[in-house]
Symmetry: C2
Subunit: 256 residues, 2 copies
């Protein structure tokens, strides 16, 4: 269902900059982002107990890995509190998203898991976009994992790190270096389990606010695209080093 254009968008964004960014991207890419869409979905949401979401996610990690453990943390309570379509939701059908897509180290699977529930319940492309974007900011710029399980399942761990990115390989590698452990260790599994809990909890916090009519985006959707002239993050030098292209001009001028 097509929505009513820019006035609706203004309700869910937090300033003029985002409208500019979205309009720029929309106009130039041939997709009008002021044409947001609502869509039918059978998946209802009720406010969840944040700590319980975290604990379920944490415990599930060691069997289901990142994406499906976030799904378990959100969906298991929804099966109880809401029922309906959630009862048949196949939590394990998304395990492939682990490790940045079947271990390829791209997008952290926790974000895929959270995005799936966000998309199913919000029924609005603008709101799901804003919430996913906020979650990517939280993931990238928060010291994690901060979740403390009642009783550690695999190991005690010492460090929290700031990923600077939603990319699995960089995020986990940075933490491994801080902790001084390899990937195939109990410590690393423990870190990813706790991180999964943090992401599920943050998603539940946003959805709890949304269902109460209190969700306001913290960050500007599509800001990275508008700022850098390409789908991107704000950690350019992590990969480009001293040869970081000038934002927005590189691929237009081809001068690098």
């Amino acid at each position: 269902m097509k929505k009513e254009g820019i006035s609706r968008r203004q309700l869910i964004v937090d300033g003029a900059k985002i409208i500019t960014a979205a309009a720029l991207v929309g106009a130039a890419s041939g997709v009008s982002t002021s044409e947001a869409y609502t869509y039918p979905s059978q998946f209802k949401y009720k406010k969840l107990d944040i700590e319980r979401v975290g604990q379920i996610t944490y415990e599930n990690y060691f069997k289901r890995w990142c994406c499906s453990s976030v799904l378990a943390g959100l969906v298991e309570p929804l099966k109880e509190k809401v029922g309906g379509a959630w009862k048949d939701f196949p939590i394990d059908a998304y395990k492939w998203a682990h490790g940045g897509f079947a271990g390829w180290g791209a997008l952290c699977g926790t974000l895929t898991g959270a995005g799936i529930v966000i998309g199913l319940v919000t029924k609005d492309t603008d709101i799901a976009e804003a919430m996913s974007n906020d979650l990517a900011f939280y993931y990238s710029y928060t010291e994690l994992p901060s979740f403390q399980p009642d009783k550690p399942i695999k190991a005690e761990i010492k460090h929290m790190t700031i990923a600077g990115t939603p990319v699995c390989h960089i995020s986990v590698g940075r933490w491994m270096r801080a902790e001084g452990v390899g990937f195939l260790t109990n410590e690393r599994a423990e870190r990813c389990a706790r991180l999964s809990a943090n992401i599920a909890m943050e998603a539940a916090r946003m959805l709890n606010a949304w269902v109460d009519g209190r969700y306001t985006p913290k960050h500007s959707p599509l800001y990275n695209v508008a700022a850098n002239g390409i789908t991107s993050q704000n950690n350019c030098r992590d990969c480009h080093g001293q040869y970081t292209p000038t934002p927005r001009e590189t691929y237009e001028t081809l001068e690098r």
Copy 2:
């Protein structure tokens, strides 16, 4: 449902190396990957017309972007041929996966879209893992986009490129440099629309083979993790340059 261990895994993998890789990862991470899981899912599959999948995906891109357009290409025909649970499948509920997660440039959304359908229909974590992995290889090491629409919607484009990665930012940036255009152009949108068609078609090819009992993985799942000692790709120098860590020893020795 827990499956019968290694004998089952041997049926779906193509050699001893993968078993070694999966066993290594499983044993050390505390998750036994020889314990594959099947799960119930209401989503049935019937063989699809590959060209039609491509054309639907291509046409949907300009409204729904990468992830949801791949979903449209696969799900719209399944709504007609299979019906059932597909009839209520909310294609737009996954739009947030576009542009590597809400424009963050991480995992190309086409792979998220394909993974969702693969996971829902195969009902087996091992098969979904192998198929996702094969699709990541196809995405990364095939000259794309090769899909030719009946009639280009946005622009004529000249180039195909090899991404070397399933990461959106690198994949699209490499193509943009070859074509000599910026991100916010009709040419770039046309490229991503055709690429989406290619990925949906390859997923449909694998699923068509699978439903006929003819799917055999081409590549070893979790090979990247075993080879590099971390969730990763095989394009280390793209980001690390001359300071590429030695595979598997860096985070164990912390000597870099």
